[in-house]
């Protein structure tokens, strides 16, 4: 079908104002961006695309444009969910919210906060994404010691499949009626359907929140103290470990203000506990005793408060980590030291913080810098070379690099896609 005719067809479904032809390189097939206002419109668009074999690329906040390019070579429609940003139903009795996929986490928090409610203690960096995008991409950054993994908070998903059919997975706190079908959509990166709305568990705002800061003689000791606390079933709202170099880079001003000094091998452990006051206090004290047992001590609480305030994103622009590794508890020390060794071997220095503790482990964020005081982040070819060596070392020590995929399941995913999307229109470039 000629491009103009297709544009008209799209416009007939979502209105002229919500269709846009995207600029493409000469000779490339045309591309459109549409912004449907309702799930029914999404279904119509998808059906139209399925009819003509046009690719459908769901777009949340659009933080991941790289993925789109791979669909070039084929006509494509970017389905931007941003107009679908309504809270459909807030069930304060069950603490559930049914929300359209295009609302951002921050947008949802704005609706919840005045009612004393919240998505919960997840990493604040997550909140810039849309709810649909958040659950469409599985990353280790979306978990909370207190509440579990974000997908565990997903009670139901509504989605439009490639044939235009809309599915609603049924909402129940738990069920034993076969596999959890909403999990097919979680992490599918738009390859199995367009998520139109989600039913999410929410939480009452914690009655108390306490932060504390501790200094430990080594990073190993800090990790041991963290695991000791978690074994005692502490459920912190936030938990983070900085090695000395990383602490200076991230919290230099605060260290100076509070007069807290760190020896080169030392580490900082920061924790926020939350809940009914007695429990928040209890959790903080358990962490404190674990720290003590590992030879550490409490330092100025203001350090903790500064960290808690900054965790949503640092206006002072700490450079993004060079790479991140998910590591189960028994391997964390080994990975930390292996990367340190690998960096030294190529004439660089690695510094790290450990965060995103969850039931499976934690994420180690490494930044590679030049040796010597005030080390500057590596860039260009030096970074590439050092990173390759360090990632190799991390993997060798038992870490999992971000974005790994279970190759064993590739044929199964392909078959699943083929069954639900025989024409292969759904985000064809993703997850291959």
């Amino acid at each position: 079908m000629p491009a103009e005719a297709f544009t008209r067809e799209l416009a007939a479904r979502v209105g002229d104002a919500n269709v846009q032809t995207l600029p493409v390189a000469a000779g490339d097939p045309p591309a459109w961006q549409v912004s449907p206002g309702a799930a029914a419109e999404v279904a119509e668009i998808v059906r139209l695309c399925d009819r003509d074999g046009v690719a459908v690329l769901p777009v949340g906040s659009g933080a991941r444009p790289t993925r789109w390019r791979s669909a070039v070579g084929r006509q494509r429609v970017h389905v931007a969910l941003r107009r679908m940003d309504h809270v459909v139903h807030l069930d304060e009795t069950s603490l559930l919210v049914h929300v359209q996929a295009g609302l951002t986490g921050a947008g949802l928090e704005k609706v919840l906060a005045p009612r004393g409610l919240s998505i919960g203690d997840y990493p604040a960096t997550m909140l810039g994404s849309t709810i649909g995008g958040m659950i469409a991409v599985r990353t280790p950054g979306k978990s909370s010691v207190r509440h579990g993994f974000l997908e565990d908070a997903v009670l139901g998903v509504s989605a439009v499949l490639a044939d235009g059919r809309t599915i609603h997975t049924r909402v129940a706190p738990r069920r034993s009626t076969g596999p959890d079908l909403s999990r097919a959509l979680c992490g599918s990166e738009g390859t199995l359907g367009v998520i139109t709305s989600v039913v999410l568990r929410i939480h009452r705002r914690a009655e108390s929140r306490l932060v504390a800061a501790f200094r430990l003689p080594t990073c190993d000791a800090a990790l041991a103290a963290a695991h000791l606390s978690l074994r005692e079933e502490v459920k912190p709202a936030g938990l983070r470990i900085y090695d000395a170099a990383e602490a200076r880079a991230h919290l230099g001003a605060e260290l100076q203000q509070t007069g807290v000094t760190l020896d080169d091998g030392a580490a900082l452990l920061l924790v926020a506990t939350a809940g009914p006051t007695d429990l928040a206090v209890c959790d903080r004290d358990i962490v404190a005793s674990a720290v003590l047992a590992e030879g550490g001590e409490a330092v100025d609480t203001r350090l903790g408060e500064a960290w808690w305030k900054l965790r949503g994103g640092d206006p002072r622009e700490v450079p993004p980590p060079s790479f991140q590794v998910t590591v189960t508890p028994s391997r964390q020390r080994a990975v930390y030291h292996a990367v340190g060794g690998a960096a030294r071997a190529v004439g660089a220095v690695s510094r790290a913080h450990v965060s995103r503790f969850d039931a499976d482990g934690a994420v180690l964020f490494f930044t590679l810098v030049t040796p010597g005081p005030g080390g500057r982040p590596l860039d260009g070819a030096r970074l590439e070379e050092a990173r390759a060596a360090c990632e190799e070392a991390a993997r060798g020590a038992g870490g999992w690099l971000l974005g790994s995929r279970s190759v064993q399941f590739d044929p199964y995913l392909a078959a699943l896609r083929a069954a639900l999307d025989p024409r292969g229109i759904m985000n064809p470039g993703a997850l291959v």
């Binding site: 559930l96 049924r170 069920r175 999990r183 992490g187 568990r201 939480h203 999992w400 399941f409 639900l420």
Partner: protein, 580 residues
Amino acid sequence: MPRAHVDPDRLRRDLESLLGARRVSMREGDLDTYARDMWPRLLLARRDGRPPDHLPFAVVWPEHPRELVALVKLARALRVPIIPYGGGSGVCGGVVPVHGGITVDLKRMTAIRAVSRDELVVDVEAGVNGERFERELRRRGYTFGNFPSSIYCSTVGGWLATRAAGQLSTKYGKVEDRVAGLTVVTGRGELVETDGPSRAMHGPDWTQLLLGSEGTLGIIASARLRLAPAPQLEVYRGFEVDSVAQGCEAIRRVLQRGLRPAVVRLYDEFDTFINSLGKRAPTGDAAAHGAPRGATPGYGAPHDDGLAPLPAPGEGALPVLPRPDPAASDGGGDDDGVIGKLLALARGKKRGLRQEAIGLALGNARLLNRVADRVARRGCRMVIGLEGSRIRTEVEAALVFAELAHAGARDTGEVAGRAWLAHRYAVSYRMSPTFRDGAFVDTMEVASTWERLQDLYHSVREAIGRHAVVMAHFSHAYPDGCSIYFTFAAHGDDLAEARRLYDAIWRDGLEAATRVGGTISHHHGVGLLKAPYMTGEHREAMSVLHALKRSLDPDDIMNPGKLGLGAPRAADAAAKGGRA
């Protein structure tokens, strides 16, 4: 579609060449044994002396994942179904070989391997008996935290395949919440491992897509499961509330404050009433059972090794657990009993008399339910238990009890709570006497969000109550909702009548649950029993399940006819359609 018949000699040869003659059986007795699980509908026919409708072609006992691969490959080549078999304790007919096939008993795959001291995970093979698994973990200072009433007769693989729930699910979650990875032999005959630390992985979470698949997508060979340190402290307490609604509200408040008791149970008026029959006093002698060992009243060290006593030998296929002393409290263990409880209504000594009494009582279900409504306005019993690390549990318990009191619940003391703990497994094992007496009993576990829970309770209770005597308790509570466990009993004069009644109860009960937005199963699974209701449950989303099936089991050899994936059997269609 799988083949209906195979050449038995060829099949035997092929199987024996894979496993050796000792681990293959085509003996009649074995085929008969493996034709069923604990689905009461099958027991009805059994009582009547009917042979099973479906028999497997063969039963095999593999010992290694490699043998599972070979078996599935063989089955694919022969187009013969594979039916994974754990403990056979399922209550939905999940292991019934509706198209014949090779029943694969996993009970010889029992390795338990610790991963590392620092990791709170364990690698365990699917065939391990649940109680043995937990006992081994306790010895090493851990718990998996899954305590289904069937812990003595179910396997870890069966738990994972059905998304089972243990009694302490409010703290530990259901099994699906505690799985770090699975090793599965898919219907394609490939051994695959789902994610390591899964959130580092892109793509859908295959672990969650395989859990609950009831053998229809593959055979779970082993799993990496998350552990918790064994509890240092257990705190149990009884409470009493005026009504189900008040009790639910109290529980909801506790959970939504972020507090996590291990177990919360609320018995409805009738359940509470039946429970109180035959007791001398609400407290008193019951203290003899599960008396606390800790010094502080209300707090105790974990009792024994945290497990119920082993069954006495020689008591048949199912262990017979210590019966509650009728003079003391029976503690009202889980599914306890219509068997113990309703029989208390008709506690005749002679069998004939008893039978008659039951027939009478159960034949007038509506009447009995109505009488119950009237006599039972005496409030509802609650049991609350916490366990975990010493200090934190103590702090949390104080907060929980205060919140309950604030919501109007009356503290009935520690003994009332401990009594439940002492008898928590002394449950449904007493099914057979009821069946012997001509009646039948079953349980229906539905769930919904808090918003719909009272609706769910009343609708399902009314629906079942049209045909049977029904009581309920609320257990498996979460911040967002709760499960309701209905126990019902009825009496049919002959097999046809009993089946008609049985099918009508399930049809009306499940349809009521679906109508008010509840799920048709919180933890027992689907099997054959709920297969006809899967479309009502998932509607268009069934297409995702069908797609999964096509991906993992393209030839439809894995436990065909289950989970609502196959064409419904004539009997199911009749059960659903046939109005009384």
